[in-house]
Amino acid sequence: MADPKVTRALALQHGLTDEEWEKALSILGRTPSYPELGIFSVMWSEHCSYKSSRVHLRRFPTKGPRVLQGPGENAGVVDIGDGWAVCFKMESHNHPSYIEPYQGAATGVGGILRDVFTMGARPIANLNGLFFGRPDHPKTAHLMKGVVAGIGDYGNCIGVPTVGGQVTFNPCYDGNILVNAFTLGLLRADKIFRGYASGVGNPVLYVGSKTGRDGIHGATMASAEFSEATEEKRPTVQVGDPFTEKLLLEACLELMAEDVIVGIQDMGAAGLTSSSFEMAGRAGSGIRLDLDRVPMRESGMTPYEILLSESQERMLIVAEQGREARVREIFHRWGLDAVAIGEVTDTGRAEIFWHGERVVDMPVGPVSDQAPAYERPMREPAGLQSRTALDVASLPPVAPAAALLALMGHPDLCSRRWVTTQYDQTVRTNTVLGPGADAALVRIKGTTKAVAMSLDVNPRYCKLDPFEGGRLAVAESARNVACVGAKPLALTDCLNFGNPEKPEVMWEFARSVDGISEAAAAMETPVVSGNVSFYNETNGVGIHPTPTIGMVGLLEEVDARLDPAFKEPGDAIVLLGETFGHLGGSAALWVLFGLEAGSPPSLDLSAELRLIALLQELAAHGLARSAHDCSEGGLLVTVAECGLASGSTLGADLSLATRGLSPLARLFGEDASRAVVTAPRGGEQGVLETAARLNVPAAVIGTVRRERLVVRLDGNPAADLSMAQLRAAWENGLRPIVG
């Protein structure tokens, strides 16, 4: 089939704007060929070029003494001492997962795993952030079952434990679910591989699965809104092959142990095109490819299709000249193709051939790093002021026991067991704390260290105040990491937003970035990698701003860890941090009154830093027996969770003073920078003294007891529930959705 004639109209169909078309013409000095148009369209898509977000992302703090690799590579790398480093990143697979939840989620996991092992790291932990529509939306059950099975099957098959994450339901995701996948890998600090195509004459090798017509224009799809029309234009969905990915992983790591590789990058979004342009672009070199040598799964594929295919489980390697045979040998041992398809040149151009005919001849630089960048207009959404106005006094009174049961059984707060039992959590024998802890904790064999990871964002907060919401997401994830005793080191993000061409969305985006930047700078946790997903919008309705944060921390002595579970009856329960009774944006407002209103709690970064330091010190000195961060749902939910985590039936006797707050605010308010810890009877003094020294408010609020959760407010009985009753509500919370 002959290529269509390239015209302005065709370029517009490919998603280029008039301006971008002019720019393409001036870069080439002629009309692009059809494959070249394909390359412009994917390289300049939102997904690959970050054209709406680039100017904002520059505000992130990205440097720090431990950062070995910041943003710009396939994943970030952070030093954890003793010659070891961790490599991590988070990525979205939102649009594909909505169209085909199982394969979409599975290939999302496959993609993020490749981003990490392409850096030379062995993946040792996966986390996932899942955001579904309202629980009773007709599509939610189907989407959730498919997504969870897809994530599980891929990670389980590869043998990387899934150890944490987040599941959130909100009507704003009815037409646009979010699937954010995080992977962390372990590598030697002096053996980092990067995506560089350098060294004139070095061979370019294609390794992994064969190329088919999968997902052509996936990157452009992720760069446009959904509508009824796009449902028709669905590209061939990518199908994941975790078995092949496992072989690819082992072959790559085996090869990386030798001095053969100059540069390596996975073929992710926009496949061969983006990997070759990015690798040559980073190295400032040129590249020559013979497309007819690409291993193909289907017959009759055209250069355009080969360049744009998003077939999974493939990588591009630049090898040392003369070492191709070694690459082939190792890949063949693992049953995989490894074919030299070109070489590095000094022309600064991408010259691509099809049976000897030159079908692409483009300068690499202008296409890859001089892609368009927009300062899109921004405007605060109208009506935000009225949303954030909240008259708490007008809320009807609630019975604390009933409210607690409603919260514990709500899909947002109930047990994630239905999800997490589908994930292998313990393969590789490193999982010290898996799902259920504030942060997952994975030990590093051969050392006393462990790495802590937490994934957090509260979309309600972000909708009501994207700046504060961004700060709070960083603070909560850092606090979660500190709750297991670890020191927060660095973070990755996945910024999920609506249509950036809308000034309101762009405003939300910019404010979120500012909030994340400010908190990350204060916490000294630089942003080392991340991902932006725009156009999460259907028929003009966009999602809440959802900047998911993945925080990584280090615990030097794994034996000093803390977990959330109550340990012994009689242990003292201590609340750390100050209670203001803030209800804006809270789970209580949403679950009990259906309100998404008020402004989120304001975060005092210095108070947060003091709390985080305190938690680490309590762990290091063995002063506390458990620790759990007080976030969604507030104090009473936190205490109930500590009891449920104990596995047996431990509860608590709490004695609280209202100090002018309503019971709702006192028990379910969501103030930042708080945590609940326990200490053995008599040991609470140590906690209180350390807290006083570090200037963190702390108060004993009760004791651990068996079987019941009993609350007294100002000396009067306020709630008395059996833990069995709470457990039943909590364990069955997802049942209405998944059966």
């Binding site: 999968d214 061939t236 969905v237 990518q238 199908v239 078995f243 999974q312 049953g335």
Partner: protein, 81 residues
């Protein structure tokens, strides 16, 4: 009614299982094997349906549950009315 429904991947959609089965057969010495595609089938028994209605109903099963239209096709076959 007795029926059989075949559900299979659309042309061009990657079939990792079929590929692995093909490789395994070849390794076992069956070098003549050139391609394998794997699919599912369902043998269904139902209460009698109104005459002429069976095929439409089977297709409904596929559309509503058995096949994933994004990547799969199906074929229905009435074996006994």
């Amino acid at each position: 009614m007795k029926a059989r429904i075949h559900v299979f991947l659309k042309e061009g959609v990657l079939d990792p299982q079929g590929k692995a089965v093909m490789n395994a057969l070849r390794t076992l010495g069956f070098g003549e094997v050139q391609s394998v595609r794997q699919g599912k089938f369902f043998d269904v028994e139902t209460d009698p349906l109104a005459p002429g209605e069976s095929e439409a109903r089977l297709r409904e099963y596929c559309q509503k549950l058995l096949a994933n239209p994004v990547i799969e096709n199906y074929r229905v076959e009435v074996l006994e009315p």
